[in-house]
Symmetry: C2
Subunit: 359 residues, 2 copies
Amino acid sequence: MNIVIMAGGSGTRFWPMSRSSRPKQMLDIIGGKPMLRATYDRVKDLAPDERILLVVGREHLAETRKIFHDTSVRIIAEPFGRNTAPCIGVAAAFLLRHLGSDAPVAILPADHYVAQPEEFREALREAASQAATGGIVTLGILPTRPETGYGYIERDPQDLGGKGKSIHRVLRFVEKPGVDTAERYLASGNFYWNAGIFVSTPGVLLEEFASCLPRFHEGLGQLHFTEDPLLMAENMTELYRGTENISFDYAIMEKTSRPVFVMPCACGWSDVGSWYSLYDVRRNERDPRGNLLDGDALLEDCTDSFVVSKGGRWIAAIGLHKVLIVDTEDSLLVADLERSQDVRKVTDHLRGSGDRRLL
Amino acid sequence: MNIVIMAGGSGTRFWPMSRSSRPKQMLDIIGGKPMLRATYDRVKDLAPDERILLVVGREHLAETRKIFHDTSVRIIAEPFGRNTAPCIGVAAAFLLRHLGSDAPVAILPADHYVAQPEEFREALREAASQAATGGIVTLGILPTRPETGYGYIERDPQDLGGKGKSIHRVLRFVEKPGVDTAERYLASGNFYWNAGIFVSTPGVLLEEFASCLPRFHEGLGQLHFTEDPLLMAENMTELYRGTENISFDYAIMEKTSRPVFVMPCACGWSDVGSWYSLYDVRRNERDPRGNLLDGDALLEDCTDSFVVSKGGRWIAAIGLHKVLIVDTEDSLLVADLERSQDVRKVTDHLRGSGDRRLL
């Protein structure tokens, strides 16, 4: 099969560690390697390197090459971000027209975490064999709590699978729910978390682009493919300029007339969308008092706190409970750990102040 | 009258801002000037500069000279610290034998805060006129809460004063009490906080040294005085080497057979003994949500917190309540503000680790 890893994001939810020049997928905030590399390592056994495509921002090309120096993955450098639809369109065309492969392709974000990678790979393999028969297959993460931070997928209850493997038709995709709705989803057993991971064939994907985004598809037809990422980024510039910023979910998944399937997956997945989420995912690394420590710090009578020391400074903490400390060379964040998603208020402030050095 | 300001302390209660090379009295943590200078400014109208003695550690001589470049105060540099008794003994001998003055001398720590300086000066003037008649007069701070962090002075209820001015004999000095005892002290009306401030004459002080610390007094008799602080520190070295580390309270005040008086004083005094105490003293500078900010920081939904930004870093804080952040170039402290006295556990740890760079 083929793999496309989408690493074009530029979020600042891990500010002050993540910056526009150092987005989350480039950070080694878990497992000691950049999330992009961990995503690759998680799926590299499913496809040869030549059939693994990394789509990154042009400004991260050099670092990506460094991270993957020991591999022969293919890299597509986007001239600038245009959300996931254009990214996936170019990747599908690259696979089908340039590499001549119409084998199923798994499309994965580069910045997620999976606790049980073998379950994850097994789900992708199953999804690929379903995708080979036409249609689009999404991974549905079995929810473990009434999470309000994720979108959900509602399944048709009828199980189309066999041999102990489930697969369902998708009834609808739903946006992040309120807490009551999330409780109901969790109780019903018919809802999954939408991880934004799906599998289809390049040919099917391009047909969908032809019907849902015809102008973009026309531009794709004139795109000249090359193995040189910088040249390729040049070639993509005009196409991207003429394309709207639009997600694959919105442009294709919600409009397609093809069958859409959901493949259930219980693999300990997390989108690691905030400092608190990272603290949650890394629960096994906490000390007996619930503290998680990245780098050196002296914790005196602290509980359930998370200290990230990357600024080369000596850190001491006294009597803290559920506090997040992130110290970098030029910036320091101290927050109520459970309110770490509010870091966007800080980055919004920085954006508003016109001072972009710290973004 | 004469003034002696004792600035030999080397505490690290304001770590990481205070260091052995930068003790509290040298920090401008309140009012925009070093506490030592503020102490001088508070009393400079009571005596000519030539009769104001600063006793500092030799290692702080250069900085002290800089801070007092526009004055003609006298500086005694101690070769090393030996607590308050030797310091006061040398100062008293300097005044009587070198300057030939037996006028009353007020002995003041260099690192206290006084909200109402005029009340403070008035109390020192009154104390000086009482001291001129023999005896030792201590300032008794009218307690405003059942503080367990201060020592107390119990007065004899009989008021010996006149013309609206109170003065009492001291019954006893008591150590820091428990909270129940402190409540009782506060309710009784017969207890004052011991600020470690007292007034006597150089002659009386030297007589006390002769009877309470005879060997030290003998050494004092052989001490050669000079205006050159470095030479003076040389001269003091042998005397200090042969002297125990002992406080004036313990060596003299608790043993003297002279009358000891307490002069009540309601002057908004604080020993500013911790970050929390500093936050308390600077209550007028807090924002409407109770936050106190030294330097720049973005506070997002924080209350009753204290942020000191001296590290040149950009600081953001989110959702904190009663948290202390002190950021310096090489160290960072984040603490429950009400537990800021536990900073000594951090400095104890640093001492124990053998790494003295951050002390």
